[in-house]
C-alpha cells in the first residue's frame, strides 16, 4: 500500500521505541479521485460502489479507506470502523458499523467505504 510507504520514515521512528509491536500502522483516508482527459481538464471520477445483494450498483465520487497494517495480524480480532449517523455510507446493509476484512497475502486489515456525498466523519 502506497500510503504506508509515504510515511515510512515516521513509522521507523515509532518502531525504534517499540520493536515488539505487531500492529504498526493504522490509517483513515478520505479520497477524492479525479481523471484528466485533456490539457487542464480534470473531472471528479466516480466509483461503482458494491452494495448489498439485490441492490443495483451506484456511482459515487468519494472513497473512505481504513487500514490496519503490521505483522502476524491474522489472529487479531476484527477491527471495526464506525461512521456517524447521517453520513452517506453506501456499503452493505448496516449504515453505521463496518468490519474490516483481513488480507492474508498483505497481512493487513482494511476496507474501502464509499460515499455518495462529500460528507464523512471521524474514524
Amino acid at each position: 500500500m502506497k500510503v504506508r510507504s509515504l510515511f515510512a520514515s515516521v513509522i521507523a521512528v515509532g518502531l525504534a521505541a517499540h520493536l515488539s509491536a505487531q500492529i504498526e500502522f493504522i490509517s483513515v483516508e478520505k479520497l477524492a479521485d479525479h481523471v484528466q482527459t485533456d490539457t487542464g481538464t480534470v473531472t471528479l471520477k466516480t466509483f461503482i460502489a458494491p452494495l448489498a445483494m439485490g441492490q443495483p450498483p451506484v456511482s459515487v465520487p468519494y472513497q473512505f479507506r481504513v487500514h490496519v497494517e503490521g505483522t502476524d495480524l491474522g489472529a487479531l480480532a476484527t477491527p471495526t470502523f464506525a461512521a456517524p449517523a447521517g453520513s452517506s455510507y453506501l456499503n452493505g446493509t448496516d449504515p453505521i458499523l463496518g468490519q474490516m476484512v483481513y488480507n492474508a497475502s498483505g497481512d493487513e486489515w482494511g476496507r474501502t467505504f464509499y460515499y455518495g456525498s462529500k460528507y464523512s466523519a471521524t474514524g
Partner: protein
C-alpha cells in the same frame, strides 16, 4: 475505529466539508496528443520524451502535520512505480520541501502498443493517534488525479512506406533504362 479492543480516534476534523481536501492535481505535459473520445488518452510516440509537471500543491506545509506529493506510473495494470515524490514533515524540520513535482520520461522508455496510467497524489495528514503504544495512526486526505498514456511505436506511416517504395521503383526504372541505352 476499534483495533485490538482499543478505541483509536483518528479525527478528520472538519471533514464534513470537502473543501478542506487538498486542491485537485493537474498535469502539464510537454508532448503527446489527447484523443479517444469518452476517456481521453494522451497518445505519445515512443521516440518522444515526455515531461510531466504537477500543478502546485497549495495546501503544502500549511495544513496538517505532514504533506506529500507523489507522481506514479503503472504499465497495463501492474503495480504503480514512484517517479517522484516529496514530503514536507513538520516532525522532521529541515527536510527538502517542494510544492510541485516534475519528471521526464526519456524517449523510448515507454513500450509501443502499451497503455500506462499516471497518477498524481496530494496528501495531507490532519491527525495522528497514539492510543496504541508503538503504533502510528494517521488520518489523511488525498486528492488524486489519473490519466492514461498510450505509447505509439515510432514506425513509418503507410504513406511513408508508399513514398519509399515509389522511390525504389523509380530508381529501378532509371537503372533499367540506362541498361537498355548501353
Amino acid at each position: 475505529m476499534t483495533v485490538d479492543s482499543t478505541a483509536v480516534n483518528l479525527n478528520l476534523g472538519a471533514a464534513a466539508n470537502a473543501d478542506i481536501y487538498p486542491n485537485v492535481p493537474v498535469a502539464t505535459l510537454s508532448a503527446g496528443t489527447w484523443a479517444g473520445g469518452g476517456v481521453n488518452t494522451l497518445y505519445l510516440n515512443t521516440d518522444q520524451a515526455l515531461t510531466i509537471s504537477t500543478s502546485t500543491f497549495t495546501d503544502f506545509y500549511t495544513n496538517g502535520y505532514l504533506s506529500h506529493i507523489g507522481l506514479f506510473i503503472s504499465n497495463n495494470g501492474s503495480d504503480f512505480v514512484e517517479l517522484e515524490s516529496f514530503s514536507d514533515n513538520t516532525l522532521f524540520p529541515g527536510e527538502l520541501t517542494t510544492d510541485s513535482l516534475s519528471t521526464t520520461l526519456n524517449a523510448f522508455s515507454l513500450t509501443g502498443g502499451q497503455s500506462y496510467l499516471v497518477e498524481i497524489e496530494f496528501n495531507v495528514v490532519v491527525d495522528t493517534s497514539d492510543e496504541l503504544s508503538g503504533v502510528l495512526g494517521v488520518a489523511l486526505f488525498t486528492s488524486r488525479t489519473q490519466f492514461y498514456i498510450q505509447a505509439v511505436s515510432a514506425v513509418p506511416e503507410p504513406a511513408t512506406y508508399a513514398a519509399i517504395l515509389g522511390a525504389v521503383a523509380l530508381v529501378g526504372v532509371m537503372v533499367a533504362r540506362r541498361r537498355r541505352l548501353v
